[in-house]
């Protein structure tokens, strides 16, 4: 007797798209916080305070601790929010991937020091 192999039901693509877009947004936040820190001493001090608030040894690594924190919060926060919003929906992963690629490309450009400096001192 032949047995029929059942395929598992397809999961919605919303959570996948949420994860991919959130990664791009988190990295974009990192890029923007780097430019902001170079442009404004008060923003740099705020980043330092944010890092000091929770990260062990934050004083030793300066405002970098705050930039990491901002990126982490935006990444995890948008992931959770988008996941909740799209958890049962079919969302194009290809479009999400292209959006994330653009964000990652922009973030890379923003953290390239000559560009950071040029933007910060305009």
């Amino acid at each position: 007797m032949m047995t029929e192999r059942r395929m598992a039901p397809r999961l919605p693509t919303g959570p996948a798209a949420a994860a991919v877009v959130a990664a791009g947004l988190g990295l974009m936040a990192l890029g923007l916080s780097q430019v902001g820190a170079e442009a404004s001493e008060s923003f740099k001090a705020w980043l330092q305070a944010v890092g000091n608030a929770w990260m062990p040894g934050a004083g030793g690594i300066g405002p970098y601790s705050g930039k990491e924190t901002v990126a982490l919060v935006v990444w995890c926060g948008t992931w959770a929010g988008l996941h909740f919003a799209w958890r049962r929906r079919e969302v194009s992963v290809t479009v999400a991937g292209v959006a994330a690629l653009i964000l990652i490309g922009l973030a890379t450009t923003l953290v390239w020091p000559p560009v950071t400096e040029w933007l910060a001192h305009r």
């Binding site: 395929m7 598992a8 397809r10 999961l11 693509t13 959570p15 996948a16 994860a19 991919v20 959130a22 990664a23 988190g26 990295l27 990192l30 890029g31 780097q34 990260m55 040894g57 030793g60 690594i61 300066g62 970098y64 601790s65 990491e68 990126a71 990444w75 194009s92 992963v93 290809t94 999400a96 991937g97 690629l101 990652i104 973030a107 890379t108 953290v111 390239w112 020091p113 000559p114 950071t116």
Partner: protein, 196 residues
């Protein structure tokens, strides 16, 4: 219902136990006879340098395997799913450990007598361009590798049926390797110029 071990299961288990016991005996022998306290060097930052280097070394292996798996995935010829999933999880954990230990090592780098001050006096561009970019490129690896691992674990066999999704995962694994290679290459070069 009677549970019977698969044929051949017992010898395999015995073999693994023998390997584990021999490994432990070997490790104990080395621990007793080798000057392990000298292995990491005598510098104040020897331990954190070793942890960061070891984590980055593991990440180099897993990120490289990830690129190979990405290529196969892109062609639609991915290997065993469990193997790819396990590799991606190890990749993500290694990325997190490398970044956290990098933070730990960044403290002596920025100290008054650290390499940062040296570079700012002797060759500021090394710090202002290469190190600054390296420290951010390294951070990119964490969300990219975690997202790749999440998609592989959550969607599993579904990936084979979804071309767009498997292409995005392949792309993430390639990006992990790219940003890792940038950070690793610049880190190695800077360490060669002036270590902590």
């Amino acid at each position: 219902m009677e549970l019977r071990p698969e044929p051949g299961a017992e010898p395999t288990r015995a073999l693994w136990i023998a390997v584990a016991v021999l490994g432990l005996v070997g490790a104990a022998f080395i621990a007793v006879t080798a000057p392990l306290d000298r292995l990491l060097g005598t510098g104040a930052e020897a331990v954190r340098s070793a942890v960061h280097g070891l984590a980055a070394g593991v990440l180099m292996v897993t990120a490289t395997i990830g690129v190979f798996q990405a290529y196969r995935m892109f062609l639609g010829r991915a290997g065993g799913l469990g193997e790819v999933q396990a590799g991606s999880v190890v990749n993500a954990i290694a990325a997190v450990v490398t970044v956290v230990s990098g933070n730990w090592l960044y403290i002596p780098y920025r100290s008054a007598a650290g390499p940062r001050q040296y570079f700012l006096q002797v060759n500021p561009d090394v710090h202002k361009v290469f190190f600054e970019f390296k420290e951010f490129a390294a951070l990119f690896v964490v969300p990219l590798s975690v997202t790749a691992a999440y998609l592989l674990v959550r969607y599993g066999e579904d990936l084979a049926r979804r071309r767009g999704l498997s292409t995005v995962v392949a792309l993430l694994l390639v990006l992990v390797f790219f940003y890792f290679a940038v950070a690793f290459g610049l880190g190695a070069a800077i360490t060669k110029l002036r270590s902590v």
